[in-house]
């Protein structure tokens, strides 16, 4: 196995922890709500998943708990911004702080324990394809869930009536209301579902890939996910590319060093952020989609 393959394998696995929350965030932002608390919802999902997996010994029960914890975190944010009309950015930060504090308190007892990470499942036939087989089809199940989810999110958003209504809410909620829809309900649902997916992203980190819990273990990756959505111009394919690019750059930093390649450490640390940013900005300049109008309005306090 060469170094490029290693970086790609590690990148897909680690990038999934960015991809899942980013897809969740895409759903929310398409409905006009940004959730900076994604970082916190990931932490909630990571801890809930690890705690349940450690206590019951059932990793999949843990992933389910991660989904629910993320959704609960999303409910909190959705209630604040949709029902109480709170400022989206402020509420997101409060959600993050609250989740950081709460998971640090309740997670203390789980630090230093390990859980067996999700098993690697090789997809029959596909995993034996030359070159791409080992890179794409020898991972844990949540990585495959990421593949499926990208297609599912794209399909629902752009090929179904539900997606049409959701995007309409993200552009002009008043129009949806005039047509007899319930913009608030749509937004609440989108944020809760999105945060639930972020919770699964946290689970991918704690029980999927790493196999343990540590307070603040997301280390800012939730914010990377939010940024990926913005720079990907709210398109699932862009989110997919941006997330994996970040993951691959992160893994490449380790792989380069493990091969004894002399590269400045600080350059390597900046690499994932720099590459992802540059790539997505370049793509965005080639005629990207416009931000959902309601989102722009919410972020500029109605000034847009």
């Amino acid at each position: 196995m060469n170094g490029v393959q290693q970086a790609l394998i590690g990148g897909i696995e680690g990038g999934t922890a960015i991809l899942l929350p980013a897809l969740g965030e895409l759903v929310g932002q398409r409905a006009g709500v940004v959730n900076l608390g994604t970082e916190g919802c990931m932490l909630a999902g990571a801890l809930a998943a690890f705690a349940v997996a450690a206590v019951t010994g059932d990793t999949w029960l843990g992933v389910g708990a991660g989904l629910l914890a993320g959704a609960a975190c999303g409910l909190f944010h959705a209630w604040l911004v949709v029902r109480r009309r709170a400022d989206q950015l402020a509420s997101g930060l409060v959600v993050w702080f609250a989740a950081l504090g709460i998971t640090s308190v309740f997670g203390t007892g789980y630090i230093g324990r390990t859980a067996t990470p999700l098993a690697t499942l090789s997809v029959p036939w596909l995993s034996h394809l030359p070159a791409v087989g080992p890179i794409l089809f020898r991972h844990d199940a949540l990585v495959y869930a990421g593949y499926v989810l990208v297609g599912a999110v794209w399909f629902v958003l752009f090929r179904t009536r539900v997606g049409l209504v959701l995007r309409a809410v993200g552009e002009r909620p008043a129009v949806v209301a005039a047509a007899g829809g319930h913009p608030q309900l749509v937004q609440m649902t989108a944020v809760i579902v999105g945060a639930g997916i972020a919770g699964v992203g946290g689970a991918q980190l704690s029980v999927g890939y790493v196999g343990n819990w540590f307070n603040d273990m997301t280390n800012g990756y939730g914010f990377v996910a939010v940024a990926v959505v913005l720079f990907a111009c709210w398109r699932p394919a862009g989110v997919l590319a941006g997330s994996y690019l970040f993951g691959v750059a992160l893994a490449a930093a380790s792989v380069l060093q493990a091969h004894g390649v002399a590269v400045n450490q600080y350059l390597l640390d900046a690499l994932p952020y720099a590459i992802t940013l540059v790539a997505l900005v370049v793509v965005a300049r080639r005629g990207g989609a416009k931000a959902p109008e309601a989102l722009t309005a919410a972020l500029t306090n109605g000034a847009a």
């Binding site: 922890a17 504090g101 640090s104 390990t114 980190l205 790493v210 273990m217 280390n219 450490q265």
Partner: protein, 392 residues
């Protein structure tokens, strides 16, 4: 029209933020607020003398199965062993002005002695000692090159010696001859540990190579996992680390069926068969001795009012070899323990010359037994280490 709901909301958000801050503070385990009443009671305390309040500040979680847990465990041992000492602890304190605030709140709660236990606390601890002459401040792991204020000292151990014993164990079991070292930052302690690990490994497998990957964080599980995966894919079959939290790398080695050498804390229980050995801090005797010196009013001018370094030779090295895992046979253990005994002789060190840098320059000539200050100042990786330090 907008005003009423917005301001109400502001209060809700404010309350939530306050809640979050409280929750965060609880998590950091700061018990500085509660003992505020104790100084008033102290004059009537035990006949052994006034009760002394001591604060311990940690950068990470006190249950990290690593560096911070070792500090916390020792602080609780001190509390038990010295009944007239009141122990305050705070964990998860970042290496910025937060540590100054934490030191101040501990002093406000009556603390006369502060143990600032993270490497990055150094400048804050030194400045705090200078501005608070009545408080004795001790820094764990730092090295002061200038003059010492009368109320300041650093303490550490010859960490690299026990680390070299772990390297010996790694050299004994490796089949590929490739060892992996996951480190955080290229600070002097870490460079010495990397070199010592490789030198120890060479003692049992002259061809062993140590591959380096850094994470630029004392604990980032995702990066640790990527680092471990990259090393394992490279053919490494023994992992070791200089990280504050150990579980990710141990779990990665376990999942791959490979071996691991620990650092900071004995985490054998996480993987008894993959765990070879490691080094674990035993700070309680050091803390106790420092506190006794202070209680006797003899701190200024003592060996602790300096850069104190525990050594095997003196029998006071705070870093001790950890327990052996089940894969280390009795004959391997005997060999490692014999090397351990040899390191207890005065002047003995894993860095005894000849030691050569990667580029072939002689670090220590044959027959030279370097001092702690020399080893602490090493800025090259020894021959056999694969990797580079930033800026080199």
């Amino acid at each position: 029209m907008q005003r009423t709901p917005r301001s109400r909301l502001g209060r809700v958000a404010g309350a939530l933020a306050a809640l979050a801050v409280v929750a965060a503070a609880c998590s950091s385990g700061t018990k500085a607020a509660s003992p505020a009443a104790s100084p008033a009671a102290s004059p009537t305390a035990s006949p052994a003398g006034p009760k002394m309040t001591v604060g311990f500040i940690m950068v990470g979680n006190r249950n990290d199965y690593g560096y911070n847990q070792a500090v916390y465990t020792a602080s609780q041992a001190v509390a038990k062993a010295m009944p007239d000492v009141k122990v305050l602890t705070a964990d998860n304190v970042p290496e910025n002005t937060s540590v100054t605030q934490t030191m101040q709140s501990m002093v406000d709660a009556g603390a006369k002695v502060i143990f600032a236990t993270s490497y990055g606390y150094f400048s804050y601890a030194l400045a705090f000692a200078q501005s608070h002459p009545s408080v004795t401040v001790l820094h764990q792991g730092g090295y002061q090159t200038g003059a010492f204020p009368p109320n300041f000292g650093t303490y550490w151990g010859e960490a690299y010696e026990p680390v070299s014993l772990g390297g010996m164990a790694a050299g004994m079991v490796t089949k590929s001859g490739k060892l992996g070292f996951v480190y955080a930052f290229p600070i002097s302690q870490t460079i010495a540990n990397i070199d010592a690990f490789e030198l120890g490994a060479q003692a049992t497998d002259p061809a062993a190579k140590t591959y380096l990957v850094n994470t630029s964080s004392w604990c980032d599980p995702l990066k640790q996992k990527e680092a471990a995966a990259a090393l394992l894919a490279q053919g490494v079959d023994v992992l070791t680390q200089h990280q504050d939290c150990q579980a990710t790398v141990i779990e990665a080695a376990k999942a791959a069926g490979k071996y691991v050498v620990g650092y900071h804390y004995d985490a054998r229980s996480l993987d008894p068969s993959g765990w070879l050995t490691g080094s674990a801090w035993n700070w309680a005797p050091v803390y106790t001795d420092i506190l006794k010196t202070i209680a006797a009013g003899q701190f200024t001018g003592s060996r602790y009012n300096a850069n104190w370094v525990g050594t095997f030779a003196n029998g006071d090295n705070p870093l001790q070899p950890a327990s052996f895992g089940t894969s280390v046979t009795p004959s391997m253990q005997a060999k490692i323990l014999a090397a351990y005994d040899a390191l207890k002789k005065p002047g003995a060190s894993v860095f005894e010359g000849p030691v050569t840098c990667q580029n072939g320059t002689v670090l220590f000539a044959a027959g030279v037994s370097p001092t702690y200050a020399q080893i602490n100042g090493i800025n090259c990786l020894v021959k056999g280490v694969v990797g580079t330090l930033p800026g080199s």
